[in-house]
Amino acid sequence: MLTQWYVILSVVLFSIGVMGVLTRRNAIVVLLCIQLMLGASALLLTAFSKMHLSHAHVFSGEQASQGQIFVLFIIVIAAIQVVTGLTIILSFYKKTHSLDINFLNRLKN
């Protein structure tokens, strides 16, 4: 499989995530779209780590597996982000009874 198809697939997924962040107002859906963007970058990193194996004289197996370790860190960051974001969203839902993303404007009160 050509690496280009993986790159194009992850670009499409990333753009769909950007589209969701820009168009939707539901805070949970916006958080889901940010997760989608993180997933697209994880797919891209994995594809590039496998692409390095085609240049076996330049990259060893240890260097090729470093991209996958960065994917592990991305997954850790995604979990932290979801936990923090959902806590903030739920604590504002308790006060405003709304999931609109514009509740962030009311933070100054």
């Binding site: 499989m1 050509l2 280009q4 198809w5 194009i8 697939l9 670009v11 499409v12 997924l13 753009s15 769909i16 950007v18 589209m19 969701g20 820009l22 168009t23 939707r24 107002r25 539901n26 949970i28 859906v29 958080l31 889901l32 779209c33 989608l36 997933g39 994880a42 797919l43 994995t46 594809a47 780590s49 496998k50 692409m51 194996l53 085609s54 076996a56 197996g61 597996s65 470093q66 996958q68 370790i69 592990l72 860190f73 997954i75 995604a78 979990a79 932290i80 979801v82 936990v83 923090t84 806590t87 739920l90 604590s91 308790k94 006060k95 405003t96 709304s98 999931l99 609109d100 009311r106």
Partner: protein
């Protein structure tokens, strides 16, 4: 056309269509379920690229933990449909156009790149638990420990946030 190519296009179609389902569906629950479908198709891509450990972590963390957290949040909240309809239609069109322009620019940037194959060279053990564990505990040991401290501080911060929210019982006037 080999089985790998057919599986790649099938998984790509599932991923893109369910990613569109996230932003199209009106109900939050369907958004979360199609997000889970995206995650499972990403795990299929990882298995197709011979990265079994990543597929396992992907399903365990993103598919199980994050998905359950989102479902928990959806059951605790109720979406107000009227709040989504006051959005100006021009803003929505502008968002779609901006995202499509970003997609076109990025695809045009990679369209004329050097052609490379994603290969699975046998014997290198890239993507297996053995190789990733050795790398994680030798070269990436310090970032590994730092990420564990990050998780711990997130846990503490969420406890503090919830405690402060529950302590003041008077609702804020908005």
């Amino acid at each position: 056309m080999g089985a790998t190519v057919i599986l790649f296009w099938f998984l790509a179609a599932v991923a893109v269509s369910s990613a569109l389902g996230i932003i199209i569906s009106r109900k939050q629950l369907f958004s979360v379920l199609s997000f889970l479908l995206v995650i499972f198709s990403l795990a299929g891509h990882f298995i197709l690229m011979n990265a079994q450990y990543l597929a396992l972590v992907d399903i365990m963390v993103w598919g199980a933990a994050v998905g359950i957290l989102f479902l928990y949040a959806v059951t605790l909240t109720r979406s107000h449909k009227d709040s989504e309809q006051v959005k100006i239609i021009y803003m929505r069109i502008a968002g779609v156009v901006a995202a499509l322009a970003l997609m076109v620019v990025l695809i045009a940037a990679v369209a004329h790149a050097e052609q490379n194959e994603v290969v699975m060279r046998p014997g290198t053990w890239v993507g297996h638990v053995n190789r990733i564990g050795k790398e994680l505990f030798s070269r990436f040991y310090v970032p590994f420990i730092i990420s564990s401290f990050l998780l711990l501080s997130t846990l503490t911060g969420i406890f503090i946030l919830n405690k402060k929210e529950s302590s003041d019982s008077k609702p804020v006037q908005l």
